[in-house]
């Protein structure tokens, strides 16, 4: 098993990185051309759009899913009734695949039948909300779907974090007369730092991989307005017969993920390896 893991995870990764420095086209071959693939990559308009999309999508989905996830968790943590029902409803999209998510939202956002059509038929004739057909806002259409699918998970992680906070902290804050929102912002959130960091890493590494959602919801369209790196990589490797470009792209993705997880892994596992 160790051997398998080594061969596949480490070997595969190293293999891809090595071949990203070659000029492989249809078949992989070891003819090194230095950084040429990377220069081509960063000169390709489609890649640049992919990166830009990823940055917009990534930043917004990080912020929104953390904020929404935390607020929902805080609301659920108020010892309310029907907590299980609410939680079940908020989390169910997470059980669905990105393909299903993308297709549903493709339909809900359909300008002829969906939200735009409804608002217009209510009398607001000039209302325009067609993210899937408008290159300028298509990424927000993806964001809506992505958030719908993913916030439930964030909420659950946050809720677990909130439940881990000692009840005495709340009592002490209440005795001191600190308003609830201040307790959350100045006491509870700082205490939940590990949870936030872990959540951040999970969201971030998920964002870099985002692929199925785009394929299902927009197929990268209109035009190339909603392309993402993972789709670029797939297309180059399996449709474009331009392997080395795909390898270079995936190496960039790897790099992006490593930048996020190495500091985290170090904090999480390196620092506190105490004998248990």
């Amino acid at each position: 098993m160790i051997a398998t893991a080594l061969v596949v995870f480490v070997g595969g990764t190293v293999w891809t990185v090595v071949y990203s420095f070659t000029d492989s086209k249809l078949l992989p071959r070891l003819n090194f051309v230095g950084l040429e693939q990377y220069e081509r990559l960063w000169a390709t308009n489609r890649w640049l759009i992919s990166i830009e999309n990823l940055l917009i999508y990534g930043t917004l989905s990080l912020i929104f899913s953390l904020v929404i996830g935390f607020v929902l968790a805080a609301l659920l943590d108020q010892k309310i009734r029907f907590e299980n029902t609410f939680r079940t409803i908020l989390l169910y999209p997470f059980a669905l695949s990105f393909i299903v998510t993308g297709l549903v939202w493709q339909w809900v956002l359909n300008p002829d039948f969906g939200i735009q059509h409804i608002v217009r038929s209510l009398g607001w004739e000039s209302f325009a909300f067609d993210p899937l057909y408008n290159a300028d806002i298509v990424i927000y259409g993806l964001l809506i779907a992505g958030l719908w699918q993913g916030t439930g998970l964030i909420m659950c992680l946050m809720l677990a974090g909130l439940r881990g906070i000692d009840e005495d902290i709340w009592k002490a804050a209440r005795v001191d007369g600190i308003p609830m929102w201040r307790t959350y912002i100045f006491i509870v959130i700082p205490m939940m730092r590990p949870v936030f960091i872990t959540t951040l890493v999970i969201i971030a590494s998920g964002i870099v991989r985002v692929y199925d959602l785009v394929v299902a919801q927009t197929s990268g369209g209109p035009g190339i307005a909603s392309e993402v790196p993972a789709k670029y990589v797939y297309d180059k490797m399996f449709l474009g017969q331009n392997l080395a470009q795909g390898f270079a792209g995936s190496t960039m993705m790897l790099l992006a993920v490593l930048v996020v997880i190495i500091p985290w892994a170090y904090l999480e596992f390196g620092g506190k390896r105490r004998p248990t």
């Binding site: 893991a5 669905l96 339909w107 992680l157 872990t198």
Partner: protein, 316 residues
């Protein structure tokens, strides 16, 4: 004479306390009731609105799949069906076309089942043994192995896609279901191993030591002590794997041929095919059918599902 009076006072005051703490649900200190109810309105109001928003797409899916095409063309996506028809469901299951092939989603469904069952069983057996070894047996290179697993859980799959294509081609498994099962097993390993390791670490070490003193070996301890004690975590792992593998798209599209495409890939091909008239009701019926398996797993498993993702994610 005095005693009953004090008693009744005490009982009465106890009642008041009970009532108050009942209102704030729990034995925490009493709260002014008025403020509490206004707060409740805000909390429940927000939650209900959010819950409705989350339910909306599911509602739209169901409603659309029950309408006929003429009705869809005149109405909007939220309108309930005037005339309920199950024809789209039948069509999605048995007749919907992907390219030249018109067998409907059923083929994808059975492919997915044939991928799912061996992948889940294999990955869980392997991962639980790995987790057990990592948690209880110090062996050379355990730390390295552990680090690789953590990285394996986060590394984008795209980096490993092509090397695995080559590997499978060498083994003669490229394009077959066996190959895909292998891929799922391998890629399920990092997160599952971590899950099992965390659980086994939390079991009391004394049990393990006692068993060793009694002469039980590696497999004896695993089979007679660890497995029977950790049924919940096995259920959690099954839930994770079933939903994960069923929902997979990337591996399915890369490592299988069109005949063997899993359900998600086939669904995408049906809905996003460019030929022919778009039949939204059939598309939505197909979407529900594909989402049904993980949804059923989710609704049945309830708390364990939550536990699974919390355990798999937070503890790391």
């Amino acid at each position: 004479m005095n005693n009953p009076a004090t008693l009744s006072v005490a009982v009465a005051s106890a009642d008041v306390i009970n009532e108050r703490s009942g209102a704030s649900a729990g034995p925490r200190g009493p709260r002014p009731k008025r403020r509490f109810s206004r707060r409740n309105i805000i909390i429940y109001g927000t939650l209900i609105v959010v819950a409705l928003y989350y339910l909306l797409p599911l509602y739209v899916m169901v409603v659309t799949s029950l309408k006929g095409m003429p009705e869809i063309r005149v109405g909007n996506v939220f309108a309930p069906p005037i005339e309920i028809t199950f024809e789209p469901w039948v069509k999605a299951w048995a007749e919907a076309c992907t390219g030249l092939n018109c067998e409907g989603l059923s083929r994808g469904f059975w492919n997915s089942v044939r991928i799912l069952i061996p992948s889940v069983i294999l990955s869980i057996i392997i991962a639980s043994i790995n987790g057990y070894a990592l948690a209880n047996w110090r062996f050379k290179g355990a730390d390295v192995f552990f680090t690789i697993l953590i990285f394996g859980a986060f590394i984008p799959y795209q980096v490993m896609l092509y090397p695995i294509v080559i590997l499978l081609r060498e083994l003669g498994l490229y394009g077959s279901l066996t190959g895909l099962v292998m891929v799922h097993t391998i890629f399920g390993m990092p997160i599952l191993t971590l899950l099992f390791r965390n659980y086994f670490t939390s079991l009391p070490q004394e049990l393990f030591k006692a068993a060793r003193v009694d002469g039980a070996g590696f497999w004896g301890i695993y089979l007679r002590i660890m497995v029977p004690m950790s049924l919940p975590i096995f259920v959690v792992a099954i839930i994770l794997q079933v939903t994960g593998i069923w929902n997979d798209f990337l591996f399915g599209v890369v490592y299988t041929k069109p005949d063997l495409y899993p359900m998600t890939v086939q669904l995408n091909n049906i809905v996003n095919s460019v030929q022919g008239v778009k039949e939204y009701n059939v598309n939505m019926a197909a979407t529900i059918l594909t989402g049904a398996v993980p949804l059923i797993v989710y609704f049945i498993s309830g708390k364990l599902f939550v536990r699974g993702i919390a355990a798999g994610a937070v503890k790391g």
